[in-house]
């Protein structure tokens, strides 16, 4: 809500209540958690808490995304779960909290706790599929991509809750006339259903679920949005088998998953400090 609206048309101030000026048109959102290889860690019930990310038994077999605003929060979730650090707001850390977290991360990195830091989708899929890593930061479509290769991969619902995020699209300020109309038409198309139906099969949610529903089978809707057991085999958007009949989605329905978000990803106030300290961490 705090970042949803501007106070006026050419304004750079965020409004604290709904106005006529959206900062962006929401395009997709999800509640993230950690991805794991149940076959390599001894079962789906072996990872229950974010704290397991720092568990010594996974030493050398964990990975983080090489992107400060997510990597640091994933570790912060783990540290708080283990009772090692207490944060006022993990989604908007103070300089001191960032420094404290990075310090612990550097020690972990030097000890070899992390196998890798991935910087793109394919890398996260391959790390998991090859077994180099058994527990890591992961996006939902990467989990479905590993599963579509016939390798068991689980987006583990963790007891502390999910890390929530949303993306949006917005036209550039210099657009006028026809170009602006085209941009608006594209935004309308974007949320008209086809796109929402496609990304739903990778585990993302559309901000207008009712339109996405038209591009999904009732069984797919029940599995992805309602958290019900799959009535038929579930396919990924490219038609590959993703999940067998009878399985349920991690964390349950849209309301259960999004209702269980503990931390939201936003650009932190100490954004610049965060990037600098992340470079510090990676070069340590």
């Amino acid at each position: 809500m705090k970042i949803g609206f501007w106070t006026g048309p050419d304004c750079k101030k965020l409004a604290d209540k709904p106005t006529d000026f959206l900062t962006m048109v929401p395009s997709l959102f999800n509640a993230d958690t950690l991805g794991m290889r149940p076959d390599l860690v001894g079962g789906r019930d072996q990872v229950k808490s974010w704290g397991d990310l720092l568990e010594p038994k996974f030493h050398g077999k964990t990975a983080l995304v090489d992107y400060a605003p997510v990597g640091v929060i994933d570790v912060a979730m783990a540290l708080e779960a283990r009772g090692e650090v207490k944060y006022a707001d993990k989604g908007n850390m103070t300089k001191a909290e960032i420094d404290q977290t990075i310090k612990i991360m550097q020690d972990l990195k030097k000890s070899g706790h992390f196998r890798a830091f991935w910087s793109n989708f394919d890398q996260s899929v391959n790390l998991m599929a090859s077994g180099e890593v058994v527990l890591q930061s992961m996006w939902s479509p990467a989990v479905t991509a590993v599963r579509s290769r016939g390798i068991d991969c689980y987006y583990a619902p963790l007891k502390e809750g999910h890390r929530g995020w949303t993306n949006g699209l917005t036209p550039m300020a210099h657009l006028t006339g026809l170009k602006m109309d085209c941009a608006m038409e594209y935004l309308n198309w974007y949320n008209s259903g086809w796109q929402g139906g496609f990304i739903a099969k990778q585990g993302y949610y559309s901000p207008v679920p009712e339109t996405a529903r038209k591009f999904m089978t009732p069984e797919e809707w029940d599995y992805w949005y309602e958290g019900k057991p799959a009535a038929v085999d579930i396919k990924d958007p490219y038609g590959n088998l993703m999940e067998k009949k009878g399985a349920t989605r991690d964390g349950g329905s849209l309301w259960q998953r999004e209702g269980n978000v503990t931390v939201w990803n936003t650009v932190m106030d100490e954004d610049r400090h965060l990037t600098r300290r992340w470079n510090d961490f990676i070069s340590a």
């Binding site: 990975a63 890798a116 830091f117 180099e132 990037t275 600098r276 990676i282």
Partner: protein
């Protein structure tokens, strides 16, 4: 071709019209100058300008501040990043030099048939028939924990546990760099070695010089410009790389450019521009240093 012998390259006389020599020079440098100005000069200028700008979460704010440079020069991360990049550059330079020199030496002095010589030379370029990215990424399944090499070692009972340092480590980064860049070192050395008059070597042999003495006293000094050119190729590529470091170290190691790329990913263009300008100056100084030691021009005009 019938008719009179073409003498086109004799400045401005043969085509029947006379151009003043100064104009001819301008016409000759013109196309390259235009391309360099448009696609190199102006972009670099923009980067330099942006490096003095301020920024906030989503905007670049045109002003004139030194903060970005102050950050670069007062942060101890900068020092660590440069040490990391320089370390890779030094190791890769040394290894590619030894391999490149040895290969060139073998091809030039130990293969007598010109056909085989050309054949082997082409063989060295085979890896370049595919893209850099594929050449690099192919190492991952080979070196991984459950990769070919580890499986081989375990099956042959050489080790009992997979060697973890093979992938996602500095070792993996160096392997990929050497694989990618050795040819850039070898070709210029080959080129200058091929110009050495074989009679000089014959004479040295007749005078009783050992093979090692010939290598040290004749071949090495006469290859200096080739080595310098190869070194420039290898060192600048390693200093400017972020992709190999990121992928092969699994993000465990950093380079100057990988840190810069993190800043770009966070939409922090002005500090990234300041890092870029600093790097360009450092690399230019390194190239200037190499050129000071060796007069490469000798190679290019002779």
């Amino acid at each position: 071709m019938a008719g009179p012998q073409p003498t086109f390259f004799k400045t401005g006389t043969s085509i029947g019209m006379k151009l003043p020599p100064s104009l001819v020079s301008w016409l000759q440098v013109g196309p390259l100058a235009v391309i360099l100005t448009l696609f190199f000069g102006i972009p670099v200028l923009v980067v330099i300008i942006v490096s003095f700008f301020d920024f906030d979460h989503s905007d670049i704010v045109p002003t004139f501040i030194f903060d970005n440079y102050v950050d670069v020069f007062t942060s101890d991360v900068t020092m660590r990043l440069y040490l990391s990049s320089l370390k890779f550059a030094a190791i890769v330079w040394a290894i590619t030099l030894v391999i490149g020199f040895t290969l060139a030496n073998y091809l030039v002095f130990h293969i007598n048939s010109l056909l085989i010589k050309i054949g082997l030379f082409l063989l060295c370029s085979v890896p370049f028939w595919t893209s850099t990215i594929i050449r690099m990424i192919s190492w991952i399944p080979f070196l991984g924990r459950n990769g070919l090499f580890n499986t081989m070692l375990i099956d042959a009972h050489i080790t009992s546990k997979p060697l973890e340092f093979l992938l996602f480590s500095d070792f993996a980064v160096v392997v990929a760099y050497v694989h990618l860049f050795t040819l850039f070192m070898m070709v210029p050395i080959f080129n200058s070695m091929a110009r050495i008059d074989p009679r000089i070597i014959e004479a040295a042999k007749d005078a009783g010089a050992s093979r090692f003495a010939i290598l040290r006293e004749i071949v090495l000094p006469l290859c200096k410009s080739g080595i310098a050119l190869g070194s420039i190729f290898v060192v600048t590529q390693v200093m400017g790389d972020f992709f190999v470091v990121k992928v092969m170290s699994g993000g465990q190691s950093a380079s100057v450019v990988s840190a810069l790329q993190n800043e770009i990913a966070a939409l922090q263009y002005p500090p990234a521009a300041a890092s870029a300008v600093t790097l360009v100056i450092v690399v230019m100084l390194m190239v200037a240093g190499i050129l000071r030691l060796v007069d490469v021009r000798k190679e290019l005009v002779s």
